[in-house]
Amino acid sequence: MGYVAVKGGLSAIQAAESLVQRGRLEGQSPLLQIEQIVEQQRLVVDQIMGEAGLYDEKLAALAFKQAEGDITEAVFLLRAYKSTLERVGYSLPIDTEKMVVFRRISSAFKSIPGGQLLGRTRDYTQRLLDYALLTETKQNQAAVALEEKAAPPRRFSRVSDVLRGDGLLAPLEPSNEKEPFDVTRESLKFPAPRSAVLQTLARGESGAMVAFGYSSMRGYGAVHPTISELRYGKAPVEFQHPITGNPVRIGYVRLTEVEGISHAYNSEGKGGEETTMGNAGEERDDEKAKPLFELGYGLVYGQNERKAISMAILDKALELGGNSPTGDQEFVLYHVDSVESSGYVEHLKLPHYVTFQSNLDRAREERRLAFEKEMQK
């Protein structure tokens, strides 16, 4: 008979757990070391830290190893770990102008103050499988090393400041939020304040962010920005000293920052009810004197450029509002979190015997009623 013994569940779970642990060790290859993941799988570490909202390269690498390379699972591990930690306080806002920049480009201007710095990117590489990596050894690694030493990292002023100086971009207004809304401590309320929007997006799942951002560019929205500046580097994190009150640097985080420029009149208008499809928007009389451009902002942990760009698109799209999916805060913010989305989708694997039994009851009753009705004819 199909009766589930009370102890049955436990032994099955334990067996599954040991299969998971054993499976990783079954092969003949040397064991993966945490340092190898941190140094050689940098981008996956960055993606995990970003989506988890926890900056710790070693723990991210550990999570990646433990999850056998499942990024969503690794993010989940870090998030659960984070729940056990006390909230000490909030750092001072990070000034990305203090960032030591490894890479920095602008697609808006050919020449920018300080110059473009292509840096470490695959953008202009040809995506051909490098068979040499199959048999790579430490010995032939030396040959790959750059002959000339790379230029030392530098600090740069922002491209957007140039536009702001010309009056093309609105001056930065001080935030009216004294302390940020903390999405890890409070549930979202709508309309969500900008700090909540940016936090949620910064922790968003890279794939979901790119899909949503892409939809806005392609036709289900109106935001198609020009990248004023994309920079990747390490920025100092400062904390206000509890006694002296002075800012104290507690470390550095690597960040990707994107500022995307949108033409204000190309947008659909703030909170506008008109459809976003196809109409480039008409000039609004009352806005004539105002700056022509608006910024969307993206900032994510590590080097994750496609996510940072998507965040800049979505930040702008959410600010504009309107009828497109990406203009709807609830649609975007409720669905970009990988722990929530994957958790709920995968919960379908749980038993639903009781609820399905109830569904069967309704379906059979409906069929019976329909049959009776048919008989009466």
């Binding site: 008979m1 979202l188 958790g343 749980l350 038993p351 009781v354 039994q357």
Partner: protein, 291 residues
């Protein structure tokens, strides 16, 4: 940093996993929920080591409430043996060394459940904690949280009534199977977690406290003891529970319990109690009588 340092935090996980500040916050939200029956209280839901959508709301309530001497029972779809129930029970055992677990309904001080209320009537000293996937009963008629909160505030439930009416027109019956909407204390429409309709009467004027937690949706709500819980229905289309057409449990013979339909290896259809603890108890009593 040595590898040893990385492993260290695992040995020092907090009592009941969450930090004390988080648990206190959840208890405060629960007080509000009890004070306003059926109202969904937003709370800062934390990530747990089990999946979002796998009971994190209920588990956060349980972890915030339990302490030394508590006896916990965890059921999933009525059974203590369900893999998810086993997993949640293991996490509670692992993080709260002075709390015991039980399979007996009557022994438990706190019962965490997914989709069922035990057949045995619960007492005033027992707390029932529900895992809730979708706390908003109006979500089916209104997708925006902003709007549904307003509808609750205004007690504007007309669209819910229209939706039920449309079901009658289309299907000849109120087609809602589980998570059947109820009106709590004459004020808020509430989602019943989804328990089957069979269990709804056990919420009405109960002796025990019912607490509901939706982790992913970050909402808590409650039905205190002795509270009116009325399923929505029409006079000419009254509320009905699941009908097993006189079938009984193939194991204990019970004909007054919620049954799971089971297809045996030889293709036969039989029924068995969904509440396995109740079924076990009945079988034990029967064998005692037989002796």
């Amino acid at each position: 940093m040595a590898l040893q340092d990385l492993i260290a935090p695992q040995e020092s996980y907090n009592y009941a996993f969450l930090d004390e500040g988080s648990k206190k916050e959840i208890r405060r939200s629960l007080l509000k929920a009890v004070a306003v029956p059926g109202y969904q209280v937003p709370f800062g839901s934390r990530e747990l080591p089990i999946g979002r959508g796998w009971g994190t709301g209920g588990l956060q309530i349980t972890l915030s409430l339990i302490g030394k001497g508590d006896i916990i029972k965890v059921i999933d779809q009525g059974t203590d043996a369900g893999v998810n129930a086993v997993n949640i029970r293991r996490l509670i055992e692992r993080t709260t060394p002075d709390v015991t677990t039980t399979l007996e309904t009557a022994e438990a001080t706190v019962i965490q459940t997914r989709h069922r209320i035990p057949e045995e009537r619960l007492r005033a000293d027992q707390t029932l904690v529900f895992q809730v996937p979708l706390p908003e009963p109006l979500r089916l008629v209104e997708r925006s949280e902003n709007q549904t909160r307003r509808m609750h505030a205004d007690k504007n439930y007309s669209r819910m009534w229209v939706a039920l009416y449309e079901e009658v027109v289309k299907h000849g019956l109120i087609a809602r199977a589980t998570s059947y909407p109820v009106l709590v204390n004459g004020r808020y429409i509430m989602a019943t977690s989804p328990i089957p309709r069979w269990d709804i009467d056990k919420l009405h004027q109960s002796d025990h406290l019912s607490l509901f937690g939706a982790g992913r949706e970050k909402r808590l709500y409650a039905v205190p003891p002795r509270t009116e819980v009325i399923p929505l229905a029409f006079e000419d289309y009254p509320f009905t529970v699941e009908n097993f057409h006189g079938m009984g449990c193939a194991r204990c013979g019970s004909t007054n319990t919620y049954l799971d339909e089971i297809i045996t290896d030889d293709g036969q259809k039989i029924f068995m109690c969904s509440d396995t603890a109740w079924c076990d108890g009945r079988v034990a009593r029967q064998s005692k009588e037989a002796i």
